[in-house]
């Protein structure tokens, strides 16, 4: 009896907080599906499902362009920082060299530095070489900021690989390059996936860098586009809600499929933020 009462309390608490977590998110989805004529200035509940807001936001709201920009920037950052982190993590995990701990601490510094401390000097540096208002102004700094976490992450994983496996490969005559790409990278697929997901999310959701670096409308990323859109559509929330749903959707869908990776990564990745 006591046990059953305890578990009822558990469900009550969890259920209550699940509702709190979900209410605003489902609210925005339901508003997005409300027909524009029924739309209010806040969350609304549709009498019948309307998908026209998504079409309007996608075409007239330029979300197709914003999503394209976000996709280009995010995929570039994931690939660039991923490859560099694999190389650097490999060196830190398996090689002895002078200055190893100093270099590692320098890299760890990158975990602590907030983008607020970098964005202003970077804006003036990049403007000096004509790179502001290009995708490069987003890709290169964001890849650099992801490197600290990614290298740390890959180093931890590579260090966990049994040394005997690498020894055996070396005895077979494999050099360090092929040990990395033929043995270590294939077996670290889960770790690579987690890393890629997290970097994808951080880059996709980022707002400050696009806000500062991008002035051409076509180059705006999805969150930046949404922020501008919000300033213009205050009376009709259903269209704004459709835009917000579009922006959040890629990460949320990935999250639902790979939630284990997200949660374990973000929790062990306490080092990153």
């Amino acid at each position: 009896m006591n046990l059953r009462r305890d578990s009822a309390i558990n469900y009550l608490i969890l259920g209550f907080f699940a509702v709190i977590a979900l209410f605003p998110l489902l609210g925005v989805l339901s508003s997005a599906l409300t027909s524009p004529s029924e739309s209010s200035a806040s969350l609304s509940f549709p009498s019948s499902l309307h998908f026209s807001n998504f079409v309007t936001a996608w075409h007239q709201g330029h979300f197709s362009e914003y999503m394209r920009s976000s996709a280009i920037v995010t995929v570039s950052v994931v690939v660039l920082s991923g490859v560099l982190a694999i190389l650097a993590g490999y060196a830190f995990a398996t090689m002895e060299f002078r200055g190893r701990s100093v270099l590692f601490y320098v890299l760890l510094l990158g975990l602590m530095v907030p983008e607020e401390a970098l964005v202003i000097p970077l804006y003036f540096d990049l403007r000096g070489v004509g790179l502001t208002d290009t995708y490069w102004a987003l890709i290169l700094p964001q890849a650099a900021q992801s490197l600290a976490f990614s290298t740390f992450w890959m180093r931890t994983f590579f260090r966990g690989v049994p040394g005997s496996l690498l020894e055996a490969a070396r005895i077979d005559g494999a050099n360090s390059w092929s040990v990395l790409w033929r043995i270590l990278v294939p077996i670290s697929r889960p770790a690579l996936l987690t890393m890629a997901m997290l970097v994808f999310m951080w880059t996709w959701n980022d707002f400050l860098f696009p806000l500062v670096m991008i002035s051409t409308e076509k180059l705006r990323t999805a969150p930046l586009g949404l922020a501008f859109f919000q300033g213009q559509h205050t009376s009709q929330f259903s269209l704004l809600a459709a835009g917000a749903t579009i922006v959040a959707l890629p990460v949320v869908v990935l999250y639902f499929f790979l939630q284990r990776h997200f949660i374990s990564g973000m929790l062990s990745g306490a080092v990153k933020e």
């Binding site: 578990s7 309390i9 558990n10 469900y11 608490i13 969890l14 907080f17 709190i20 977590a21 979900l22 605003p24 998110l25 609210g27 925005v28 200035a41 806040s42 969350l43 490859v83 190389l87 650097a88 490999y90 060196a91 090689m95 002895e96 002078r98 890299l107 510094l109 990158g110 530095v113 907030p114 607020e116 401390a117 970098l118 202003i120 000097p121 970077l122 540096d125 290169l140 700094p141 890849a143 650099a144 900021q145 600290a148 360090s176 999310m201 996709w204 959701n205 707002f207 999805a222 969150p223 930046l224 949404l226 919000q230 809600a241 990460v251 949320v252 939630q259 949660i263 973000m266 933020e273």
Partner: protein, 314 residues
Amino acid sequence: MAAVSTPTDRTGAPDDKRRAGRRKATKKSDRIAYLYLLPAFVLFGIFLLFPLIHGFWISLYQWDGLSASTWVGLRNYGEAFSDPGLRSAFVHSLVLIVFYALIPVSLALLLTAVMSRARHTKGLGFFRVVLFLPQVVASVVVATIWTAIYAPQGVLNDFLSAIGLHAITKPWLGDFTWALPAVGLIGTWVEIGLCLVLFLAGVSQIPRELFEAARIDGAGAIREFFTVTLPGLRPQIAVALTLSVVAGLKSFDLIYVATRGGPGTQTSVPAFEVYHRAFDVGQVGSACAIGILLTLLILIATVVINRVDPGESR
């Protein structure tokens, strides 16, 4: 160290011979390691270390971003204490830390304590996914949603009117008293699930025997919590505090989209001041100083919080 006795090292005193040999041996493997590190450190150096140092350099000047700059030394840093606008921005971010970190962590601890007595909860995976969801939604989207909820004709005011509290309805984000707590509560909403997920995972790792032993000793729920659950959750509390305090310190997106620091400067925070000073009022030196101060605060907070937890050695 096979290279120690190679014949090429014949020069020099016997003692030096050994050392020279070792140096040579490490040098070759050093070079390979450096090649692997080079691309990462080039990118890291140009786009993170250099701007960090450049930012510090700019912070020593008074500069509007266009005309010539004037050296002012550390005066921009002194302003963090003397300039009332800036000082209140730092105070606001302390208030936000209460909402982002202290409330979610305490509340989640309390809930974990209540829940930990029943060990097996079916469907915990589902709740984990849902509770964690606010963490992965872009903060610009979160701000957009909550702006609509807090709007004068928003659902919060509708709800308050419906339960007979029409008197306290207000434009929450435009209210001088309520704007900051309203923004803070968005942070609470984002962080609470994270804390709960962390603590539930932590509790399941505490050895069962400890709970059983406590019960045999006749410990009640409260004593069990303080002698078993709380000490056992130390690592998770440290992680939760680190993540949420840093999130509270950085909260730029939320402030920019939801309030732009307003009404007046009631919700301005250091992260917002960095942007505002550099691009709205042309105080680039001061903006950079705030960025450096923010870095130091995050560094200090992270170190202090992880000191609290001696059990965790990375």
